[in-house]
């Protein structure tokens, strides 16, 4: 497919769909839910002409199990949903983590708990970064903050999933999903990836492969869990991604991800206009969390303010990262009105100085 040479103005959700197509994903399984419907809408139109399959399943549970089956064959496949739908998928995600299947799951999160509402929220941070389903596992979690990143990080998610044979989550929210921004549909460089010699492709001329998460022989499961652990440790070494803005001379650090990082960026500019030495730390990978760079900042800045669209989740990772080197404050907004930058500026003033 030809890459568009000029910028186009698209919604974040459409950018996710384009990133998936450009990454070679040809299989999508899902069930509709606001505010992510533009993803299946786009893929339902564009996958079939490319020889792909778009299946609207009867439920999220069916979707995630279709995804499990498809990825077991080595194909690039994905699903997308929003918070309540992602909850329904957790059993399947746990099975795929256990079976080491590379899939991409997009959560354009909305507000909860329960059916909650359709407004933007970052209330799924714990669920995304702590595994989400049962068992001792992690998923890679990428948090886009712009429409361009919705495309770039979806593309990257497929490579990371394949590199680690692990489910990878793209965690956006209603704000980033619904807003439009210019997108340059450039294909990022593709990683060199291992052969999928584990895939179920028919055992002609070779021993049968097996994809499973059940280990009953003595010692087998211990070994399997240690193997998964090693993989997560390797992610921590190799996959940390983050952005720092004006941190060079900063004495006060805002920490925010996704949509809230954008609002914080403007709040930072307002603070700089008033001569306050404020910087911004934006984690792009939520798992693995950029603990080390955050810790390094705490040697220079002694006050951190975490801003989230929830009542306090990522702030725990910030506290774990800086240990006791700095004070960590929190400003949270539960679902409802989104905070304008001026509101965050007021919070900065509360703790600055």
């Amino acid at each position: 497919m030809d890459q568009d040479s000029e910028k186009i103005l698209v919604r974040g959700n459409e950018a996710v769909a384009m990133g998936a197509i450009d990454a070679g994903c040809r299989l999508f399984f899902g069930y509709p839910i606001t505010p992510q419907n533009e993803i299946p809408e786009y893929l339902s139109k564009h996958l079939p002409p490319l020889g792909g399959e778009f299946i609207q399943a009867e439920s999220e549970i069916a979707s995630i199990n279709l995804l499990l089956g498809a990825s077991a064959t080595g194909a690039r496949a994905m699903t997308s949903s929003s918070s309540p739908g992602i909850s329904l998928m957790q059993e399947g995600i746990s099975y795929m983590a256990g079976s080491e299947l590379p899939v991409v799951i997009v959560n354009i999160s909305r507000s909860g708990p329960g059916l909650g509402g359709i407004s933007a929220s970052q209330g799924d941070y714990f669920q995304a970064t702590r595994g989400g389903g049962h068992g001792d596992y992690r998923t890679l979690v990428l948090a886009p903050s712009t429409v361009q990143e919705m495309y770039d990080l979806t593309y990257l998610a497929f490579d990371l999933a394949d590199k680690y044979r692990n489910p990878t989550i793209v965690l956006g929210d209603a704000l980033i999903g619904q807003m439009k921004e210019p997108l340059l549909r450039r294909k990022p460089e593709k990683m060199t990836l291992p052969q999928k010699d584990w895939a179920l492709t028919g055992a002609k001329g070779r021993k049968p492969n097996r994809i499973k998460s059940l280990y009953l022989q003595e010692g087998e499961l211990t070994e399997h869990n240690w193997k998964l652990y090693q993989k997560y440790e390797r992610m921590k070494k190799e996959e940390i991604r983050f952005e720092m803005v004006h941190t060079d001379d900063a004495e006060f650090i805002l920490v925010a991800f996704g949509s809230m990082a954008r609002v914080s960026k403007t709040a930072l500019e307002l603070a700089r206009n008033e001569k306050m030495k404020v910087g911004l730390f934006r984690p792009i990978t939520l798992f693995p969390y950029p603990e080390k760079p955050l810790y390094d900042l705490s040697k220079q800045a002694k006050k951190f303010l975490t801003v989230e669209l929830n009542t306090g989740q990522m702030v725990e990772d910030v506290r774990l990262s800086v240990h006791r080197e700095a004070e960590v404050f929190f400003y949270g907004k539960p679902p409802g009105a989104l905070p304008p930058p001026e509101e965050i500026l007021e919070e900065i003033k509360k703790y600055y100085g």
């Binding site: 910028k7 186009i8 103005l9 606001t34 505010p35 359709i118 407004s119 209603a174 704000l175 619904q178 807003m179 439009k180 921004e181 210019p182 954008r262 609002v263 914080s264 960026k265 403007t266 709040a267 930072l268 500019e269 989104l338 905070p339 304008p340 930058p341 001026e342 509101e343």
Partner: protein, 188 residues
């Protein structure tokens, strides 16, 4: 495009079906064509025809942080509820554009803003297509603010509108020009 730092934000609001999202989309697309950074943030979801609809457009010479704006440079209010909700938020000395076909100007409580009253519905009916009121409003806004070139807006129509509506592009261009002419006449 000038290299001077540039930043402008506007909230476009009205009721569902008035085409306020189309106004925002076209502004954003035209500005992008001119090399600007833009964001377009719509309300979404539990809206319906007759309910409220609004969008926020930010146009800047550099990367845009917040797409959420509390005190915009301009508000385009297409009906009374949107004037009451967003009119109070325009920055002092900012631009408050109201659809005077549907809004009694006595409802405008601000005297510290630049008020631009345009009877866009009446003008649209006079020109034979009541559905073009939003394009007349867009033309008036573009002429007043000079945010983007009219030609950039015209060129954006085929990008913003679905292909099945492309036959309507000439009448949209005409409506935008009518809005522009109206403001030019006011300024004479």
């Amino acid at each position: 495009m000038s290299t001077n730092p540039f930043y402008y934000d506007v909230i476009v609001a009205g009721f569902g079906g008035q085409g306020v999202l189309a106004i925002g989309n076209l502004l954003a697309y035209a500005a992008m064509k001119e090399g600007r950074h833009v964001t377009y943030l719509p309300t979404y979801g539990v809206e319906m025809r007759g309910g409220t609809a609004n969008c926020t457009v930010v146009i800047s010479s550099k990367e845009i942080g917040s797409p959420i704006v509390h005190r915009p440079h301009a508000v385009i209010s297409m009906n009374l509820p949107s004037l009451l909700k967003y009119g109070v938020r325009v920055q002092p000395n900012g631009l408050l554009m109201v659809n005077s076909s549907l809004i009694d100007l006595k409802e405008v409580s601000r005297n510290d803003v630049d008020l631009l009253a345009i009877p866009v519905n009446d003008m649209a009916i006079e020109n034979g297509n009541p559905r073009m009121a939003n394009m007349i409003a867009l033309g008036a806004f573009v002429e007043k603010t000079k945010l983007v070139e009219a030609t950039s807006v015209f060129d954006s129509l085929e990008k913003v509108f679905d292909e099945r509506h492309h036959s309507l592009i000439p009448s949209n261009i005409k409506a935008i020009q009518i809005g522009m002419e109206y403001v030019k006449a006011l300024q004479k």
